[in-house]
């Protein structure tokens, strides 16, 4: 028990008042009738007066009354987890964090121990719900009254691989609590990962919850490293896998090595080294040979020794023969567009899957075996070069090739327009390239650019081509246009701004590289499934498709496989999708945020619970659990902390009960004093 205003206890000094009064009262002896005073003599009883108090029971009542009043003002509070004062029923919701970070050594055991302690502390008559938090709020059992069902659900629960953030959790928890008639006491048993905290504190509020108790089972000193791996193409025949060690900057990685495994067998082991001029620790394995066409090799890159979270010490890498995308940079005047070409080539090569070639193609020769062509179209400098180029590009496109046309100065086959200096105003957010996510809105056009829009004579396919403006300035001038010419033809995008860095800041903006990658993906891989995904994502599969999990087990039944289905990617590794076009790999990774085991600061947790307190009943005060002392591999320490959670809990203000005690004492004092007074009157 503690006191919110302990200074009021100084009022206990008033206890001396009734004490003195009762001592002084002794000076007036009670009067009693007697038959005769004939044999009486006055007694000198001064000594006995000073020793004895009169009406000791009454004095005791009065002292207790004053003391209770002092306690009322001092506001005593008691902290309890269970049903305090054994009074009203409450609905208890226990949320057990099942995200990936809970797999760190010691955390899961501490969490289950803490939940068991909570269950034993909650009265049997109170309904209890146990939820798992996997990024979604998942009820782990059906019956609210059957504690054995809760225990069984707890025993079968496991930490998963998903990512979750507490803002989403509290929103879901608030919704789940809204329809519950009883006051809801929520308990969050989690490692309180800092990376799971939302950017705004308000996202953590849940007005439907009467009280929230945070039970932290994460150790603040846990360190974790994880590995990233990528495939780098060396040639048409070979590739290399590079591994990068990621973790806290101060982590000592001496002696850490990367091992490449194929089908469980070690292929190579390479120590991590710090790259010159950087702090990045990487390891590159010896070149390997591409698998045969249509086949996929799955390599595992593992770091040794393992750390607190072994599950992210291994990354799977899927290597397929058809991974590379060949991009041709061409145009009518490459020298005049050298800066644009440099920007384009640099951006494209940031993706290892791309290979880039430059060729002017001035003679109109066929473009050939390229996946994407980026064509610069300028005012002709001589002869009929442009028509020849136009013809080559058209042929290429009608054969299924994809073209990004970057317009330079206007030609007579283009419609003259001017793009005024302005900011980007309109972005088509429905396009598969996800242009709104690429940062296009931050692009600025510096000066008026006289450009030419494609006319019916330009790169026309002879059919009913359709134009779709994807990006425009605030004034409405088109900047990015898609020209479609039927399903058989390849895709064609027009960029009306020169990429010289003078007309606009597009090549220098953060939007440029992601946009260029999305262009390549849209053109080449539009019909393909994503090659990378995160645990917890879902995948919408088309019909006549089967998907195999990282263990190689088919995930769909015959019906679902024939009709198409949605599958959840619940664990890291390489999922393989087989359809009519062949075999495709989807590499599913755990979230890097979950691999960061840093826990939230106590101050942040305090602000969280104080925010809950302010938004709910002021009498249902919440508090923050201290950080657990559990360390990696020390599950006993975690269990101790879990049992210690009984000392934490809801603060219950006892003032009303003490006030009730005051009233009771006052009534007793009145009755007892009256009875004494009655005796005195009767005697007199």
């Amino acid at each position: 028990m503690s006191l919110l205003s302990p200074l009021f206890l100084l009022g206990a000094g008033l206890l001396i008042v009734p004490w003195v009064l009762h001592l002084l009262r002794q000076r007036n002896a009670p009067v009693q009738d007697f038959p005769s005073t004939r044999f009486l003599e006055h007694s000198d009883a001064a000594s006995s007066k000073s020793k004895k108090l009169s009406y000791k029971k009454l004095l005791l009542l009065r002292l207790l009354l004053l003391l209770a009043l002092c306690f009322v003002f001092a506001q005593p509070v008691i902290r309890t987890v269970s049903d305090w004062m054994g009074s009203a029923r409450q609905h208890h919701i226990i949320v057990l964090d099942q995200t990936f970070s809970m797999q760190a050594s010691g955390r899961w055991q501490a969490a289950t121990d803490a939940v068991e302690s909570l269950l034993s502390a909650i009265p049997d008559a109170h309904p209890v719900q146990l939820f798992g938090w996997t990024g979604a709020l998942v009820p782990l059992h059906d019956s609210l009254q059957d504690r054995s069902a809760v225990q069984q659900a707890l025993a079968s629960a496991q930490a998963g691989y998903t990512q979750g953030d507490f803002g989403t959790l509290m929103r879901r928890l608030n919704i789940a609590s809204a329809d519950i008639s009883l006051p809801v006491n929520a308990y969050l048993v989690s490692d309180m990962q800092a990376s799971a905290m939302p950017p705004r504190l308000n996202d953590l509020l849940a007005p439907s919850i009467a009280a929230l108790q945070l039970i932290a089972v994460g150790n603040s000193d846990a360190e974790n490293r994880w590995v990233n791996a990528r495939v780098r193409s060396l040639s048409n025949d070979s590739f290399a896998i590079a591994a990068t060690l990621v973790g806290p900057p101060e982590t000592d990685s001496t002696g850490t090595s990367a091992t490449l495994l194929l089908d469980g067998r070690t292929v190579q082991t390479v120590p991590f080294t710090v790259q010159p001029g950087t702090t990045t620790q990487s390891a590159e394995f010896d070149p390997l040979v591409w698998p045969v066409a249509g086949d996929i090799d799955v390599y595992d890159v593992a770091i040794e020794p393992q750390d607190a979270l072994p599950a992210d010490d291994v990354r799977s890498v899927a290597v397929g023969a058809d991974e590379q995308v060949r991009v041709l940079l061409t145009g009518s005047d490459l020298d005049a567009n050298s800066r644009s070409l440099r920007f384009l080539q640099t951006a494209l090569l940031t993706d290892d899957r791309n290979t880039v070639e430059r060729d002017e193609r001035l003679t109109g020769q066929p473009i050939g075996d390229f996946d994407v062509s980026v064509v610069h179209i300028d005012q002709p400098t001589s002869g009929d070069v442009l028509p020849a180029l136009s013809q080559a590009v058209n042929s290429y496109r009608l054969a299924g090739g994809h073209v990004l046309a970057v317009i330079g100065r206007a030609g007579d086959y283009l419609v003259d327009v001017t793009v005024p200096a302005a900011r980007i105003g309109t972005v088509d957010s429905t396009h598969p390239m996800r242009l709104d996510a690429n940062g296009w809105r931050s692009v600025t056009v510096y000066r008026d650019v006289p450009v030419a829009l494609p006319s019916s004579t330009s790169l026309a396919t002879g059919g009913a081509d359709q134009f779709r403006v994807l990006v425009a300035t605030e004034a409405g001038s088109p900047v990015l246009i898609e020209q479609s010419a039927g399903q058989a033809a390849g895709k064609l995008l027009w960029l009306t701004l020169p990429l010289d860095g003078d007309a606009s800041d597009l090549p220098l903006s953060p939007a440029f590289v992601p946009w260029l990658h999305s262009v390549v993906d849209y053109m080449v891989r539009y019909d393909q499934y994503p090659q990378r995904s995160t645990v917890g994502d879902t995948l919408q599969l088309r019909g006549n498709t089967q998907i195999f999990d990282p263990e190689g087990q088919a995930m769909l039944g015959v019906s679902a496989s024939a009709n198409g289905s949605t599958v959840s990617l619940s664990r890291p590794g390489v999922y393989q999708i087989q359809d009519r076009s062949g075999l495709q790999a989807v590499t599913v990774l755990t979230s890097a945020a979950e691999s960061n085991l840093t826990v939230a600061s106590p101050t942040l947790l305090t602000n969280w619970t104080e925010g809950i307190q302010a938004s709910t009943d002021p009498n249902a005060v919440s508090t923050v659990a201290g950080q657990s002392g559990a360390t990696g591999g020390q599950s006993s320490s975690a269990a101790t902390d879990a049992s210690a959670t009984e000392a934490r809990g809801t603060l219950v203000n006892l003032s009303r009960w003490v006030l009730l005690l005051c009233a009771l004492l006052a009534i007793l004092e009145i009755c007892y004093a009256n009875s004494l007074l009655w005796v005195r009157r009767s005697a007199s």
């Binding site: 009067v31 038959p35 009486l40 007694s43 009883a45 006995s48």
Partner: protein, 304 residues
Amino acid sequence: MAVTPATSRLIDPAVLARFGSLELVARAVVDGVLNGMHRSPDFGFSQEFEEYRAYNEGDDPRHVDWNVYARTDRAFIKRFSGDTNTTLTVVIDSSASMNFASGGLTKFDYARYLAAALFWLARKQRDALALVVFNDAVTDVFPPSTRPDAFQRVLALLQRAECGAKTDMPAAIKQLVPHSQRRGILLFLSDFYTDHATLETALAPLVAHGQEIAFVQVVDPEERAPVLQEVTALRGLESGRQIEVSPEYVSGEYRERFAAHGQAISELAVKTGADYVQAVTSEPVDQLILKYLDYRRRSGAGRR
């Protein structure tokens, strides 16, 4: 066969207080007395013929031997042994000090119950009944009478008597002397808070007249052995004076003084040839009567 202790038949004074009627009280007490006797007391009625004597005015006509009157034309009274035909005069103190009660029964109530019971016994042997109520003077007098309604009348007088002023027992006795020409039993029910020497002087005419005197000192248990938890101001019922006394005093010296007071009354009784009994109000009335009768039998009183 189990022997029932005699005290089990006795009636608690607090129970007597619930009777309300003094006659019922007297009857209940006397029943207890008679049941507790092992043999007939002196007050028992005897039918053994003793003598004839000439009829005097005032004698009960029922005792006239009409056969003798028919033969001799003179009226004679037929007397039996045990039919003492004495007078029981109860002199009861109604001073304020008699109004004290530590329990539910005041000393005066106790004295009234005792008087009523004795009157009942006396009526059974046709003794004349007389009552004198006094405090600082005689307040009520019922002269000796053997009339059939004497018992009801004396009880009525007892019933309406109230405690009043201070005690002046010698003055009351001086007033009593002219009314005590007939020999009999004079029973004083009082706490005797009076000067013993003066009392002895006042009693002298009665003793000389041959009255048989008995002192019954009515005492409350709290009066005899008071218990105090703290220093207390004790206020006298008669004087109104308050005296602060300590628990140590009342449990020590006071008790000695009170015991000496009782002893002085007892010695006065010896000097005057009187009987002396201390009656504690917590003691059953019938038990006290038994004790008194037994005392009279052993001391030979009543056959003088």
